[in-house]
Structure formats: structure tokens, C-alpha cells
Subunit: 575 residues, 2 copies
């Protein structure tokens, strides 16, 4: 591509509404333009990156045995009525009427359409497993579109759907797709984690999210520094930090802690480390007879409660709710700041200790009496009856629950999601095949999404510096920029540029020849802003010594190379 | 691709609502499925063809210097208000409201969006010419979607838009795009014609349609059998069939022609050939003072009037309208069946003769008296004052207006359209750049469309037989089918199939290995229905003689080839 025929549209400044780096840089580098809230045009530079990602995704889907299809964007309401989502789906589903007054929506996802296809086209278990994918523009009418293409209304997704006669077959394809997703992100060259996820509203049993790690991410990901373990912080198992409790060493003592209402206040007042205190929280529960109760949860003073984990415990209300202060006062006789595990059982309150709290000894806890705490408290010695469960959020430094390495927590951007949907949609739409015995069986189903446009943004969040984008080689808009000094005036420069351009293009490289009548500073800045991985400068001064100037966008040091070696040098540098 | 992992979805019969061949075959070959009126899912076989066409289109657009972009499908009403089309565009424009109640439409075309982009991103004549294209799903809410993807509501178009500082630059890019379109259809291997077209409602000055010739086409195309000349029948120039009139040979005679009201009746009654008669039609006109008049149009008896041409003549009402019978009776004194050119001038009626009619001699015409005609009439000798113009439709056998060859008329399917829009949209949206003198100039604009999904259907209309589709090599879903006989039972067959599959795939061929447990008849029928250009049958009987059976979908004769030569044979056959 010759720069003189290309649309740069680079900007010195980003618009003020662009708050995340990728949004700012995509505007500044001339990759996208907004035409209406959350609706973007992809300019040539943006689309080149987009297409490279799309091709990697397509290749890996085909390798995984998925068959490409394209389903309509506009979907009839009838199918959504069958699945029950016409009513359930919120205003993100853009509904509309055609000229005959029939109801349609603009597809945010295609479970209904593909299940309809499957029930019509698949009739026998012999055709299974079957896996379809499409790469397509979706629409989700976000209430507040933001962060550029990261949360736009129109976006491009690769969505895949698989159909199976059994759970085992679903698991097999799920594993193949898990691997294919890893291949996609490995090939692009991103730092990512497949994360065990909550299945959320889409339903189904088992799911992984794929997160690109970046500070601007909206999710906290806990992962091991030495293994594949990764999970959303809310879902990561918090292991016990100590194998068993030490023997008691201190006497139990009730101490006066005036006006100390929080753990830090108590610890400071008693000159204790917070890790030798516990906090006790009272939440609403139900007993076996469905009578309302209060349940006490005990955590080490520095740990935080994980509501998702708590909700899943027997005898605890879901959604999670703290007990009323008036009920606490009535049943225990003190304010929440002075609650502790000792003596609660006797008041009819069940105690559940977090795994780590349960292995503490000689700890400090509320004395269930305003302005008093215990020190030197011990579970067994002091007769505190309790259950044990995982109640807390993991923190950095925790051992990884798979026994390998230590937990690190970083922010992640979700760019992929794979689900085992089970029979949910197939049952609703009665999508069956005949099994080996000639009996109709509802199919098992998996679904698998990758946000193609979102990958572009997340790759930038992970790869930029103060000058602009620093693309991974695999998805850079151009492999190389040849920057011509005085292209219009120097015949020697022109000739050398043309030679390099044609020889490097013939080597399969995507080359930008900057032949514009612009100052060198403008050309260098554009090249760096666009994040082109390799750069050759061709000028009369260098040519006089048979030299060109090379610079890698990543390494950043200028380097003189001999004209004769240039093509080979670049081809090797690109590898 | 192994057939056992593939979705065939072939059908013996097409649904009854599929009336054109391509629609029937696309359903039967498992290429598309309708999910709602005019909304189709592209199944794997259909999409493979689609992608091959898409790739050819993209490559040729890039070669032509067009830059790929993607604009949103959902477009804000504001831009359409600016161009005036929000009101003007009919119900084909699907309008909708987002969750905040703002008006949007689902884009059937992108003149407004691209012009908005151009006015924002282009500021100087130095950036021009600039040419953008996108390959994208469009929506047109057709009142009666039909013919499968030929006239569906969702369809894929390549649309391109170019911007220029001058008409000359627009013409240059227009010519480049004209050539690029020819390259696309040449590479696909279709019989097509670029046809000089009427610009219709989209406006603009100059335009060509690209038509694939096929009996099911909706337009009549007149083209030369020996040159590039082609035009819509309505627009094709009809040349004069004779250089000049012969000398009069017969006496002028008024003959009694009782009850002869039509040319065939008169010719039969007088035992004349219709080509020696003329028909005279009276149409509404206006004189220089805008007073209503009647104008007489004279054509050879076998020719038909072309209303588009007539409307464009000075002094004729547009839209075209025949004179009232009562006015004729009043002004001339006879019924329309007896009108002729002689004597009209004297009654204040202007006479315009078609070019060919004007070179006739000794002809027969109405005598302006009920039940009487003249024979032996001659324009000059008999003092018939007249103008001459092109009034008629071309017919097969006419000389081509470019002087090369003879006109042939065939039906065509419009698959592409290129326009010189001029300043229409740029003016409405005030899209200007600074010219050499620093003055703001409204840009000139061209637009260029190709119906990617429609090409799939039109290629079938041109390439099928009673067994199914006969794809051109360039866009076949697979290059070759290897049909295994007893794949599951014969190890020799399996081994040979696998060898061929891996060696031919390595040669870059797109191979379908039919390893299904199906009867040979089923496999042969699917292979022919899908239109796979080359077929190899691998069976124990042949293998015993080291032979394979080859068949070309086009040539159709079985042919034994030696195993050892098979790969080379296929690679050559594919060329």
C-alpha cells in the first residue's frame, strides 16, 4: 500500500469521551469513527487488523471441525417466543416491525435460529456431533455504549453452536473448542487466561470465559503464577492457609474495647495484627422447617466475604442478605461491631467458619457485648461449635487451589466464552434426533463465542506505549513501513523504495510505503501511532553509504543495515 | 472435508414456492434455508461458494485501489434527513427506534454514511481521488421477496464509493471500476454484459449495469454479436436500416381497406409484407407556447415504439401519452386505425418519422379517412413534411449501433451497477474539500455495487443441467469429490482414499472425501447435485487393476485413469 493512496486519518488528540486507552488510540490511529452512539465505521487501518483476527479465528474454527454458516441478522419473533426469550430478554434486544407489521429483532445471539436449523436438518444420531460457526455482525442495544468497540451496540462476533447425542460427546467438543480458543489467542499473541466462569443468565452447566489481561478490564481474575488455574475472583476457591490450628497458647480474656466498631479499630486499640482477629457477620438463613433464622459467618479479619459462595450454602437465603440490626440487638443484645462466635450456638445461632478462620488459634473476636472483645480465643478449647466452609474471596498470595503456585489477581477483558448449554434450547424448540434405538432424543448443545471486534481493542490495551500502539506481529495493520525521505525529489530514494517495496511485497509482507509529501516527523509519528512492527527509513544520506535505517517498534533502537541485506533482514525480523 | 463430518442437507424435491431454477437447486443442494420470508441461512455448501465469490470481489477491489471499510448496518435517521431520503425512500427502508426512542434504519445502501465519513475525513484535494468499499449484509424490506437469494430481504452487497475533485477524475475511477467489474465476472467465469443503463431513482449522470445472461433474467439486454456494445433494450439506439430511400417506383393510390384496423389486417388484405407498411401513432405534445398539440409518430409496420426515447424528444409530453380518440376524430376526421402521415401537416400536426421509416419508399399508410389506405406512398415525391428521430425499440438482427455486428437480445440478471453520482449527495451533506486555490469545492462522487449473494444464484441460472448445478471451477464448493465405495469395509479403498485426500489437499485443492456409509447412487447424486467439477471413484474392482474412475461434471464421460497418475491428472484437469 502506498501512503499517498491510503486514508490515515490520524489525530493528535483523542475525543474527550474516549476514556480507555484502546478507544483513544483507535480513534487517534484512524481505525474507527463513531457515526452514532455505539455505532462505528471501521476505517482501513482498523479493518486490516480486524480481518487478520477474523482469519485466525476462521482457520482455527475450521481446524476444530466446525462448519461455517451465516444466519440472518434479522430474526422472526416466533423463534424467540418458542424459547421464551421474546419476553425475558431486556431492552438490549432491538425489536422492530417489518412493512407488514410482523415482529422481528436484530440478533444479539443465535441460539434460537441455530436450534431451529438443527431440528430441521438433523434427524439421526449418526449426523452428530455437528458444530456450526458464523462470523457476523450482532446488535445489542446497550443502555450506555462505551469504551469504543469494547462495548458498542454493533459488534462482530464469532458464534459457534454444537449438537450432541450425549453429555460425553458435548464434553469432547467443548474440550476441542477450549483448545481452539487457546490456539486463537496464542496465535494472536495475547496474554490471556481461560477462566472457569459462572454461567449467568444464558443458562447451562459448565462454562469458561477467556480473558485478556489488562488494567482496564472490568473483571478481576485470580490465576496461578505457575499453572493453568484461573477463575473469576468471585468463583475462585479459597483454600485453607494453614493445615490445622496450633495449640492454644493464651488465656481467654474479655477486654474492654471502647468505641471500637471495626476490625482495624480493634486491632489498633489492642495492638494486634488484623490476621489474628476474626470478623463475624450475621446473615439471614432458613432452617429445615423453612423458618427464618440468623446464621453467623466467621472470617479472618483481613478477608472479605464472597456472597456468591455464601448463597450456595444450605440454610442461607439466596440472594444473600445481612440480618437486620434490630433482630441482632434483640437476639444477641449488642451491636454488630461486637459480635463474635463464642456463645452464639447457645442463643440458637449456627456458626460457620471460613476454612482459614477455622485454623486460627489465640485469636481476637467480639464478645457479644457492646465495647468488649475476647482475646486468646480458641475454637475447640473454648467450646465454639461451628461448621466449616469456603466463605471468602481469594487474595493475591493465596496458594492456588490446584496445589500449584500462588494466586495472582489481575483485571481481565472478556473476549471469549464457551458454554455447555445442555438441553435448554433444544428442549424448548423440541430439537430431537433418533438415537440408536430409533427413539427421539432431545439434543445436547454447546455454544461458543468470541468477540472479534473486542479482541482488536483488548490487544491494544495490552500493547501500547506513549507513542501509540505496539501490535503483535500477527495482527498488525502492516508488517513494515518504508519511510521515504524526499520521495518526490530524490530519484535514488524513489528507486530504492520501489525496489524494497516490490521485493518485500513479493515475500508476502504487508508493506506500507510512505511516499507522502510530509515532514519526516509526521511520517515517524504516524508509523509509531499505527504500531507498525518494523520500519525502514530510506534517505539520500544513508544511501550514499549504501545504508538504510531500521527500527523495531518494540525494541526501539535505530540500527543501520546494509542495503543489500535489507530484504533478508526484514524477513528474519518478522519471524 | 470428510463427508461424514459435513452437513449435506440435500433434498430430492424443491419446495413448491421455489419457481426459478437457482432457487430450487440452492434448496435441493443444501446451500440455503429460509427462516422467515426473504431471510435465509447460508448452509456450509452455500457459504463456501459465497466466500469464493467474496474473495474474488475483494481482490479485484483492492487491485483497483479501493480501500476496504465496514460501515454500520444500523444507520441514524439524521443522515437520511440530510440527504432527504428519510422521507423519499419507500417502505423498503426498514425503520426502527432504539431503546431511547431515537430513529434508525437498517441500511439498504450507504451513500449517506460514506458521504458523512468523507466530509469528516477528507479536507484537501490532495487526498483525492479516494475510493472505499465494503462487503456487507444489507436489508431491503421487499414487498414480495422471491426467487430465493435473488430477491431476498437480507442480502450481501459489495458497495464502493469514490470521491473526486473533478469530473475527469470521477471518469478515470469509473473506468477503473468498470474494468475491475469485468475482471470479477471474467474470473468467476460468467457470460455477462456491461450494459449502458438508465440511472433511475438513485440519480446521477452516467451508469452501467452488469448483467449475467440467463433465461430467467428480468431485463431484456440488446448486445452485439461481435463487439462490446450492450444496452437495456429500452435504451439501445435503433439505427437506420437503409442508407437512403429508393426512387419512387409506384403510383400513389388510395385504396379501399374495409374493416382493416391494424397493420397485419391491412397487409393481409393488400397482400403486402408488413415491412412495406408504416404505422402512424398520435401522441400528446406541446408547442413552443406550451399549447397542447398532437404529434404523429411514424414507424415501419413491424417495429414497436420506444416510449423512453419518445419522451425525451422536444415537443412531446413526458410521461408519454397517446392522444385522445375524440381529439383525433375531431382534428383528422377518422379513427386511429386509418391515420397516415400524408396531409397531417396541413391539419397542423407535426410528423416525426423513425429513422428506418424515413428511408422507406412505395409504402402503404393510412389515408386519414376511415377504411382507406394509400399504397405507393413516398415521403419526398408526395410532399410529406417530417422530422426524423430514433423512435423504435431495437430488434434482433438490427445492426449494432457501434457499427460492429448484429444485435442479439437476451434476458439478463443484474448483478452489478456502477454510477457517476456527481455532486448530488456531496451537495446535500455539504461534503467539500479545499481545492488548489484553497477554495471549498463540493466533491464529485461515484458509487459501485455488486450483489455478492445474487451472483451465487445467477451463476447457477447459467450453469445447470437435469442432475443439478454445474459450477464454474472458480466458485465450486469443492474442486473434487473422492467417492469411496465400501469405505468402512475395504482397507484398500480406505488407504487409497486417504492417500489421494492428503496428496490433493496438499496441492491446494478443496477436496470432499465421501466416506459416508451410503449407497453409491446416493453419493453420485449428491456430488452431481452439488455440481462438484471433478470426481474420482475409488473401489476395490478398480484398485485390483490399479485404476480409478474419473468423471468431469461438465464433460460427463467416465474415464479410467491409472492410480499413479491420478494426482497429476486432477491437478491438470482443474486448470
Amino acid at each position: 500500500m502506498r501512503a499517498s493512496n491510503y486514508l490515515f486519518s490520524t489525530l493528535r488528540d483523542a475525543p474527550t469521551d474516549a476514556v480507555v486507552t484502546s478507544h483513544q488510540l483507535m480513534i487517534r490511529a484512524g481505525m474507527i469513527r463513531q457515526i452514532s452512539k455505539g455505532l462505528y465505521t471501521w476505517l482501513p487501518t482498523g479493518l486490516k487488523v480486524f480481518r487478520k483476527i477474523e482469519n485466525i479465528v476462521r482457520e482455527e474454527m475450521e481446524k476444530a471441525g466446525s462448519l461455517e454458516v451465516i444466519m440472518p441478522s434479522v430474526q422472526p419473533s416466533e423463534l424467540w417466543e418458542e424459547s421464551g426469550r421474546w419476553q425475558k430478554y431486556g431492552p438490549e434486544l432491538l425489536r422492530m416491525k417489518d412493512r407488514h407489521g410482523r415482529d422481528y429483532c436484530l440478533g444479539p445471539t443465535h441460539e434460537e435460529v441455530i436450534t431451529d436449523l438443527a431440528r430441521n436438518e438433523l434427524s439421526s444420531y449418526k449426523q452428530l456431533p455437528m458444530n456450526f460457526f458464523q462470523i457476523q455482525t450482532k446488535f445489542r442495544d446497550e443502555i450506555r455504549p462505551r469504551f469504543g468497540v469494547m462495548r458498542s451496540r454493533e459488534f462482530c462476533m464469532k458464534d459457534a453452536y454444537s449438537f450432541h447425542i450425549s453429555e460425553e460427546s458435548l464434553q469432547e467438543t467443548y474440550d476441542v473448542m477450549h483448545k481452539a480458543y487457546c490456539n486463537v489467542f496464542d496465535r494472536i499473541g495475547l496474554d490471556y487466561r481461560p477462566v472457569l466462569a459462572d454461567t449467568g443468565s444464558i443458562g447451562g452447566a459448565y462454562s469458561h470465559e477467556f480473558h485478556v489481561l489488562a488494567d482496564s478490564g472490568e473483571d478481576d481474575i485470580a490465576f496461578s503464577d505457575s499453572s493453568d488455574f484461573a477463575a473469576n475472583v468471585e468463583l475462585a476457591e479459597a483454600v485453607c492457609l494453614k493445615e490445622e490450628a496450633d495449640q492454644p497458647n493464651q488465656e481467654l480474656e474479655e477486654v474492654f474495647t471502647p468505641n471500637c466498631k471495626t476490625i482495624p479499630e480493634v486491632a489498633e486499640f489492642l495492638k494486634l495484627d488484623v490476621t489474628s482477629t476474626v470478623k463475624t457477620m450475621l446473615v439471614k438463613g432458613q432452617d429445615a422447617d423453612e423458618k427464618d433464622t440468623i446464621v453467623a459467618l466467621v472470617l479472618r479479619g483481613d478477608h472479605t466475604i464472597n456472597e456468591l459462595k455464601v448463597e450456595k450454602l444450605d440454610g442461607i437465603l439466596s440472594p444473600f442478605e445481612f440480618a437486620n440490626e434490630s433482630d441482632i440487638l434483640e437476639q444477641i443484645g449488642c451491636a454488630p461491631g461486637s459480635i463474635g462466635p463464642k456463645g452464639l450456638k447457645e442463643k440458637g445461632i449456627r456458626v460457620i467458619a471460613d476454612r482459614t478462620a477455622a485454623t486460627m488459634s489465640d485469636f481476637c473476636a467480639g464478645a457479644n457485648k457492646d465495647d468488649y472483645h475476647y482475646t486468646g480465643l480458641n475454637w475447640q478449647r473454648d467450646g465454639i461449635d461451628h461448621d466449616i466452609a469456603d466463605l471468602r474471596n481469594v487474595v493475591e498470595g493465596d496458594p492456588s487451589p490446584d496445589g500449584k503456585g500462588t494466586i495472582v489477581i489481575k483485571r481481565g477483558i472478556e473476549v471469549g466464552h464457551i458454554f455447555q448449554l445442555g438441553k435448554q434450547y433444544a428442549e424448548a424448540l423440541n430439537a430431537t434426533v433418533l438415537d440408536e434405538n430409533g427413539k427421539a432424543q432431545v439434543m445436547q448443545m454447546g455454544c461458543y463465542g468470541i468477540g472479534v471486534s473486542r479482541i482488536v481493542a483488548s490487544a491494544i490495551e495490552q500493547n501500547f506505549d506513549e507513542k501509540g500502539i505496539v501490535w503483535p506481529e500477527s495482527i498488525a495493520p502492516f508488517d513494515l513501513a518504508i519511510i521515504a525521505m524526499n520521495y518526490d525529489k530524490s530519484e535514488a530514494v524513489r528507486e530504492e523504495c520501489e525496489r524494497l517495496y516490490s521485493e518485500l511485497t513479493a515475500q508476502g509482507l504487508d508493506v506500507l510505503l510512505d511516499d507522502r509529501k510530509e515532514r519526516p516527523g509526521v511520517k515517524f509519528a504516524d508509523c509509531e501511532l499505527l504500531g507498525i512492527p518494523h520500519r525502514l527509513v530510506v534517505g539520500d544520506k544513508g544511501l550514499a553509504k549504501d545504508q538504510l535505517e531500521y527500527k523495531s517498534r518494540k525494541a526501539g533502537e535505530n540500527q543501520d543495515i546494509a542495503r543489500a541485506d535489507a530484504v533478508e533482514f526484514i524477513v528474519n525480523a518478522k519471524k
